[in-house]
């Protein structure tokens, strides 16, 4: 052997051997000390888990109306958090009692967080006031698993008034949660949803050390919270209030917007709901109840209600007619009805309107005149113009959930029903009935486009203007717009909307009464419509009003519109 004949190596190897022995003995004693001598206290430390990760809530941006009202804000509130890594099931009953919950309820609440890592504490009770937490704070020593955290609660001071526009926040879905790092709430509807990335801040993180009696020893900031940005939206608080009040008991919607830049001054859908109750995690029952409430208050009728537009569609038909060769002097005679294909299509005036020009037909809302326009130009000349104005397409309004409505074409009918397009379908479409469906925001948007001679704007709630909010331009001659606007002006000066003539404001508009079948009983109901704009020259507002079961356009929609125009007349400055 080599080392036997070389004693120098042998001693060096022995030296190393001694080092190894020494180190292993040290390790042995160290592990013995940690695991046997101090094992019990480390075991305690592990079970009580002395380190916690705490979320420092970021502030979600405040939402203001254009006139400075706070529409969404925060109020100080506290959450009771459960630290599930130290929580043991046998303690469930005692903790539930302490918190004033049933054991089943607490178990359900804990179960919601199955996918959240155990070391992250989760809220089991939320929205407590300072006086409510005081007794809990006093007894926290007995309940080391729970602690109290400041958790500002989103509040909507005006309740239902802005529910459909501002929206509300709530628990993220599994998909939404992927972009979050903390247990944050996200926008679920309206502005809160569409501008969630701007409004929502980024929560911070803090690690804290607590001792075995739940007293906090040390703390360290891991990540600073970043607050969300505030937003101002273009809604006018008093106008919104006025529209809601005057819509009253009716189900329906009001949309007021600027034909200059697309900003929305009022958007109301009735009935409405209180968004404040939807932001809570543990109020599922109320939410379920809301979903089955008569009238479906969660539905935003202004952008999701698809209605036949009735006579408010006639100005568009007139534009299509002018485009297809008719002139302002083209006359048709109304005898109270028109027979086509062995069927009589009626005018609302059974005596008949006699001979009418295009403008007169708009003013008196003569069905027979527009039946004749339909027969003359045909559906193939009508629907492309309607499509250019955005019928059957989303307006692109900056809140989610908008519906498209429906623009029927022969091809569509064949595809959907398997039957061909009949001349009668054209006639029905010409008076805004049949398959045609529009949302109130579309009606307001089309009215605005007529008012501004064909510029298609994207209706929006965010208070900004510019090219971004222009969709395009309808390619029709200015004189055609002038003709149709003259007809709409005549509606107010001497036609179906004469009730609006006394305001001292040059208003143009169009009334509408549409029939639709709704609900399980398939009962026919009348929709009361009004669309209009003012002033006729260089318009500043365009509106659409619809009231379900509101009778004729003149019965319900026109008086509501009258209040809105009156407000506009008295507060012109606010609309600048």
């Amino acid at each position: 052997m080599f080392s036997e004949s070389h004693p120098a190596f042998r001693s060096r190897i022995r030296f190393f051997y001694v080092v190894v022995m020494g180190v292993f003995l040290t390790l042995f004693f160290r592990y013995w000390y940690l695991q046997v001598v101090r094992g019990n206290s480390y075991f305690q430390a592990a079970t009580e888990n002395t380190l916690r990760e705490i979320t420092i809530p970021s502030r979600r941006g405040t939402i203001f109306s254009i006139d400075g009202q706070i529409l969404a804000d925060y109020k100080v509130a506290y959450d009771i958090m459960l630290d599930r890594s130290t929580f043991r099931t046998p303690r469930l009953k005692s903790i539930a009692e302490f918190l004033g919950l049933s054991s089943d309820e607490l178990r359900d609440r804990i179960k919601r967080y199955r996918k959240v890592p155990l070391y992250k504490p989760v809220p089991v009770i939320e929205n407590l006031s300072f006086s409510e937490i005081a007794p809990l704070e006093a007894r926290k020593k007995d309940y080391p698993e729970i602690f109290i955290e400041l958790a500002p609660q989103r509040s909507y001071p005006f309740g239902g008034l802005f529910a459909h526009t501002v929206g509300y926040i709530g628990e993220p879905t599994v998909r939404e949660a992927r972009k979050l790092t903390t247990l944050q709430k996200v926008g679920k509807m309206g502005i809160e949803k569409s501008y969630d990335d701007i409004l929502r801040g980024k929560d911070g993180t803090r690690r804290i050390v607590v001792d075995s009696s739940n007293h906090f020893i040390r703390t360290q900031l891991i990540r600073e919270p970043h607050n969300g940005k505030d937003l101002t939206i273009s809604l006018l608080f008093p106008l919104q209030q006025l529209a809601m009040k005057n819509l009253g008991k009716f189900q329906g919607a009001v949309v007021v917007l600027s034909p200059r830049d697309g900003r929305i001054f009022a958007l109301v859908s009735a009935p409405t709901f209180d968004p404040n109750i939807l932001t809570f995690r543990f109020r599922r029952k109320e939410w379920e109840a809301l979903k089955v409430t008569v009238g479906n208050p969660m539905l935003n009728r202004a952008i999701q209600g698809a209605y036949p537009p009735g006579s408010t569609f006639k100005p568009l038909v007139a534009l299509a007619g002018l485009n297809a060769g008719l002139t302002s002097r083209t006359h048709f005679t109304c005898t109270g009805g028109l027979e086509v294909g062995g069927r009589t299509f009626l005018c609302w005036n059974k005596e008949g309107h006699g001979s009418l020009s295009l403008t007169g037909a708009i003013a008196h809302s003569c069905n027979v005149y527009f039946y004749n326009v339909g027969l003359k130009i045909g559906i193939e000349k009508l629907w492309p113009v309607a499509k250019e104005f955005g019928i059957g397409l989303r307006t692109g309004i900056d809140i989610p959930g908008e519906r498209t409505g429906l623009l029927p074409t022969p091809e569509w009918k064949r595809r959907e029903t398997g039957r061909p397009w009949f001349p009668g379908d054209t006639l029905n479409t010409c008076i805004g009935q049949g398959y045609l469906l529009m949302t109130p925001v579309q009606a307001a948007s089309v009215t605005a486009s007529i008012a501004n001679n064909g510029i298609l704007l994207i209706p929006h709630l965010i208070n900004e203007t510019g090219k971004k909010w222009i969709r395009g331009k309808v390619d029709l001659p200015a004189k055609d717009f002038k003709t149709v606007k003259r007809g709409m002006r005549m509606v107010v000066t001497g036609g179906t909307g004469v009730a609006l003539s006394g305001l001292g404001l040059p208003i143009a508009g169009k009334t509408g009464t549409a029939q639709t079948v709704s609900g399980a009983d398939r009962k026919s109901l009348e929709l009361s419509w009004f669309v209009g704009f003012a002033p006729v020259r260089d318009p500043e507002i365009a509106i659409a009003v619809i009231a379900e079961k509101g009778g004729h356009g003149t019965d319900t929609a026109v008086p509501i519109a009258s209040k809105i125009f009156k407000f506009f007349r008295d507060n012109r400055e606010a609309f600048k």
Binding site: A8, I13, V20, Y31, G39, S85
Partner: protein, 360 residues
């Protein structure tokens, strides 16, 4: 000849592998893709056993003849990894070779070992002369330097210590030791002030008093101490360690794997593991004493030094005895390049024992 295969060493290595796989199968459960980690490690172990067998069957003296070639290839790989390598945890230490990834710094340990043996295979002195010292320093220094560039502090220190162990075994004059001491102090002082990254300084600093900063740098040490301590005498049971389950331990499948073991099997388990690991090292030391020639002695001794260093750091770090440098525990930690290297080294040491009476 009868009794020439060293069953004791073979047996304790197999036992260590079994303990290691058991712990890994618990630790991997908390890591992303844990299932595949376990099956992959099993494949690596099989490859390692096969290569170790080959290393054993082919006489270690044959391997030494190839040392310069193997060493050159390894240095090329280290340069390649600096250029084409992929970065994991901030160091560029992996080569993508299509089907699998290689961490060249692990096999480099093996080639440095063989290279030292090759350098002194005909050396008859019991002390290194100046020329030999320069040669050894170069053989050790080049890979250490290249690995520091990655930068992989842990592996570089492993090779440095193994090489230093070899140089110590071969012997130097007392005044050369003194010279080295002064040099190292100066280099250490210089690099502390000019070369070390702040996080490396932090690690060394908190080593002295981790408890003063429980939420920052000392966090991992405290958490692993809690894990080890809470194991108490008998452990919390296989797959029942709360510290590792709740992800308080960083890298539970590599650097902190012994904390998982200590938490789940307690002091009793730790004693068993320490005895097994101690037996591996002491048996290798014995074999180095029994080696027929100088290269055989170097191979067995340096392997013992390498394993000892990694074991001491990895088990000492988690209980706050040594700074957290991120060195894997041989036979326990996940990692293909590592386990294959250790098993080939074991094969070589077994070959040294097998050929202990044999002339070339």
């Amino acid at each position: 000849m009868k009794g020439r295969f060293d069953f004791p060493l073979f047996l304790v290595v197999i036992l260590a592998l079994i303990l290691g796989m058991t712990t890994l199968s618990s630790a991997a459960a908390t890591v992303k893709g844990g299932e595949t980690l376990i099956s992959r490690q099993l494949i690596w172990i099989c490859i390692g056993l096969a290569l170790g067998t080959i290393a054993f069957i082919v006489n270690y003296r044959v391997w030494i003849e190839f040392a310069p070639v193997l060493y050159s290839i390894a240095m090329c790989l280290l340069i390649l990894v600096l250029i084409f390598g992929s970065t994991v945890h901030g160091s560029r230490s992996w080569l993508n070779l299509g089907a699998f990834r290689l961490q060249p710094s692990e096999p480099v340990k093996l080639t440095v070992l063989l290279m030292l043996a090759w350098l002194f295979k005909r050396d008859k002195t019991s002390r290194l002369n100046f020329k030999s010292i320069v040669k050894s320093v170069l053989v050790i220094g080049i890979p250490v330097f290249l690995i520091l560039l990655q930068p992989d502090f842990g592996t570089a220190s492993t090779i440095l210590i193994m090489g230093a162990g070899g140089v110590f075994l071969l012997g130097m004059r007392p005044r050369v030791y003194l010279l080295f001491f002064i040099l190292i102090t100066a280099v250490g002082f210089g690099s502390w002030n000019y070369m070390f990254k702040p996080y490396q300084k932090e690690r060394v600093l908190t080593f002295f008093n981790p408890e003063r900063d429980p939420l920052g740098r000392g966090y991992h040490v405290i958490q692993s101490k809690v894990a080890v301590g809470s194991g108490q005498l008998t452990g919390r049971g296989y797959r029942k360690g709360t510290q590792s389950r709740l992800k308080y331990l960083p890298e539970p499948h590599t650097d902190f794997i012994f904390a998982v073991y200590a938490e789940e099997f307690g002091f009793a388990g730790v004693v068993v593991a320490l005895i097994i690991l101690f037996l591996i090292i002491s048996r290798m030391i014995n074999i180095s004493q029994m080696a027929y020639d100088k290269p055989g002695m170097i191979i067995a001794f340096c392997t013992a030094v390498l394993l000892f260093y990694q074991i001491a750091i990895s088990t000492g770090m988690i209980v706050g005895l040594l700074p957290t440098t991120g060195i894997p525990l041989p036979f326990f930690s996940y990692g293909g390049s590592g386990i294959i290297t250790y098993l080939i080294m074991t094969g070589l040491v077994l070959s040294v024992f097998w050929n202990r009476f044999q002339r070339v």
